[in-house]
């Protein structure tokens, strides 16, 4: 059992030893661990860092090898704050794309980015989740309502629209970014 009174007496002698080097925050250590967990990510995803010393800001490129979006190159920005992993990472699609779960500002409707986020999840979980919505877009949770309606009612037209949008075409008056490389 800890005895504060005896500890305190010793302390008076050792006062002001201090002066150790700055500590790395828990968030940074956690992020470093998250990066270690990215060694086996699928070939369809690449992560890049504008500044390799800064793990709080990076981007993800997804090149789906199957599904409606095969052939496209989709880019996301990740911004992590000091509140991580209590708070989810902030993820935005940096291109204007035609997708039922992504709006024209790049907001992504993915449950684990908001209401279902838990600190046990990590960067890898979010990346897998993002890849999943390209393989299985979910018309029941729409952010781009028009795209969701088309996917629900006319699959053939949806495929055409996706292909047209990925080439930088215009759908419903909206001009999309060319994501083919």
């Amino acid at each position: 059992m800890l005895n504060i009174m005896s500890i305190k007496k010793k302390n008076a002698a050792d006062a002001a030893a201090g002066g150790r080097s700055p500590k790395t925050s828990a968030t940074k250590i956690r992020l470093q661990k998250d990066m270690d967990d990215l060694s086996n990510i699928p070939k369809t995803m690449t992560v890049s860092f504008p500044n390799p010393d800064d793990l709080f800001n990076f981007s993800l490129t997804i090149t789906p090898d199957d599904g409606f979006y095969k052939g496209g190159v989709f880019r996301f920005s990740f911004k992590i704050k000091e509140g991580y992993p209590h708070e989810a990472p902030k993820v935005l699609c940096t291109q204007k794309i035609y997708h039922p779960n992504i709006d024209l500002e790049g907001n992504v409707c993915l449950n684990i980015l908001r209401e279902d986020w838990k600190p046990v999840l990590n960067i890898n979980s979010v990346m897998i989740g993002l890849q999943y919505i390209f393989l299985e877009p979910n018309p029941d949770d729409p952010l781009n309502k028009e795209a969701a309606v088309v996917l629900n009612t006319n699959r053939t037209l949806f495929v055409q629209n996706v292909n047209k949008s990925m080439r930088g075409g215009i759908i419903g008056g909206v001009s999309y970014d060319n994501v083919l490389q």
Partner: protein, 427 residues
């Protein structure tokens, strides 16, 4: 009772707590030494304690601790008194609005409890360094944010050097949310720490962004529509400040339009501010319950007069009344207390690769693929691919080119839950 000199202790002043400090008993903690020396210790400046936060919990804590006989109390709070605090933060009066909470609370306690010295610090916990925190015997937290608790926890645990018992500072942490609360004791590296239990924290209420965008049903959905989707479009360069009345007015007006469109009732200016600032209702008596439990644990810790809580008490008053105490377990991969601190001395002329080879050979750690960073720099990262490529050239660089003697290098490994903090000194 007549008191000649209000700054000194009058007869029988500490009669009640002294009952516990003057005699032992069958349940006393092993090694407990009751008597005058202990009584004097509690009242002396050898037993200096820190109260972090002078808000709802802080007011209660200061009152309780002063009335129990602690006479050298420090209090730290960055906030000033707002009118809305006066309904429960009873050390403040209307005339104090706008003044520092820490300063007003200190003055009130010192006027009211003779002989008790309270030293305020009006500022952030982050403004103070290890030297400041090392002067206290116990750190008692009455905070309202996860962020502040994480910082305090990491700082106090980081200060603990197992070879020097005087660096061990127990934390007693109280927290409330409406009719619920908790009180816990954290003994650095012995019990679970705050970071170990991060998964348990209630997170801010969030709604699916698709609901906010398309199918709002609640007034909160309309407010988040304004704050999450409209604001960034209208003011991409400005972050929302929940304390700026103009920001709240704009959000309130946009949320009202949205609510009218969908026939939703209940968007008010107060609710708008509540949602934007994520305000949790505070109940004065819950603060009193939790602060009382927290102060008692601090007293038991300081005196060893009775066993302390092991180690987490939750108070659940919103579904009938239920309390439960359990020993929260340490998390092996906790980035704060699951981190082993190791001091090593190497030659600054070593290449980074040589340092890594040394780590790989180090018995007992079983590192296979270590990633190394200082607090600001990626030295070598095993993954993802781009980071590995960007940091690979560092392997051939000299340690002295990459960091300075005395720097801390954090080592993680995908194969290991724990991480290492290497404090590296060059010969």
């Amino acid at each position: 009772m007549e008191i000649d000199n209000p700054t000194s202790d009058w007869a029988n002043r500490w009669r009640h707590p002294d009952v516990y400090l003057q005699r032992s008993g069958p349940y006393a903690v092993e090694g407990y030494m009751p008597g005058d020396e202990l009584t004097e210790f509690i009242h002396s400046d050898d037993c200096k304690i820190l109260v972090v936060g002078a808000g709802g919990l802080g007011c209660e804590l200061l009152k309780n601790l002063a009335l129990m006989g602690f006479k050298d109390i420090h209090v730290i709070d960055m906030d000033t008194i707002d009118v809305s605090n006066l309904n429960r933060q009873f050390l403040f009066r209307y005339k104090d609005v706008g003044k520092s909470k820490a300063e007003v609370a200190s003055e009130f306690i010192m006027n009211r409890v003779s002989g008790c010295k309270v030293t305020p610090f009006f500022g952030k916990i982050q403004d103070k360094d290890e030297e400041y925190y090392s002067q206290f015997s116990i750190i008692i937290c009455g905070l309202d944010s996860v962020e502040a608790r994480r910082w305090m926890n990491a700082t106090i645990i980081g200060m603990y050097d197992e070879e020097d018992p005087s660096t061990m500072k127990p934390i007693v942490d109280g927290g409330t949310e409406g009719f619920k609360g908790q009180s816990r004791v954290i003994i650095p590296r012995n019990t679970a720490c705050y970071e170990c239990s991060l998964d348990m924290q209630t997170k801010p209420v969030t709604f699916p962004i698709c609901t906010i965008a398309n199918t709002p049903r609640l007034p909160e959905h309309c407010i988040q529509y304004a704050s999450l989707l409209l604001w960034p479009k209208s003011f991409p360069e400005t972050k929302i400040d929940g304390d700026d009345p103009d920001h709240i007015s704009w959000l309130f007006s946009e949320a009202t339009k949205r609510a009218d469109e969908f026939g939703i009732r209940g968007v008010t200016r107060t609710l708008t501010m509540g949602v934007v600032k994520n305000i949790i209702p505070a109940i004065a008596s819950t603060n009193a319950i939790v602060a009382a439990a927290t102060a008692n644990e601090a007293f038991k810790l300081a005196t060893s007069c009775a066993p302390i809580v092991n180690n987490y008490m939750m108070y659940v008053g919103d579904e009938g009344l239920y309390t439960y105490t359990f020993p929260l377990e340490k998390k092996p991969d906790c980035p704060v207390c699951g981190t082993e601190s190791v001091k090593i001395t190497i030659s600054g002329g070593w290449k980074l690769q040589e340092l890594i080879d040394l780590l790989l050979e180090r018995p007992g750690t079983q590192l296979k693929r270590p990633s190394l960073r200082t607090s600001t720099k990626s030295l070598y990262m095993q993954s993802p691919k781009m980071l590995e490529e960007a940091t690979r050239p560092n392997l051939e660089k000299l340690c002295s080119e990459l960091f300075s003697s005395g720097d801390t290098v954090v080592v993680t490994d995908a194969n290991l839950p724990i991480s290492l903090q290497l404090v590296i000194t060059f010969e």
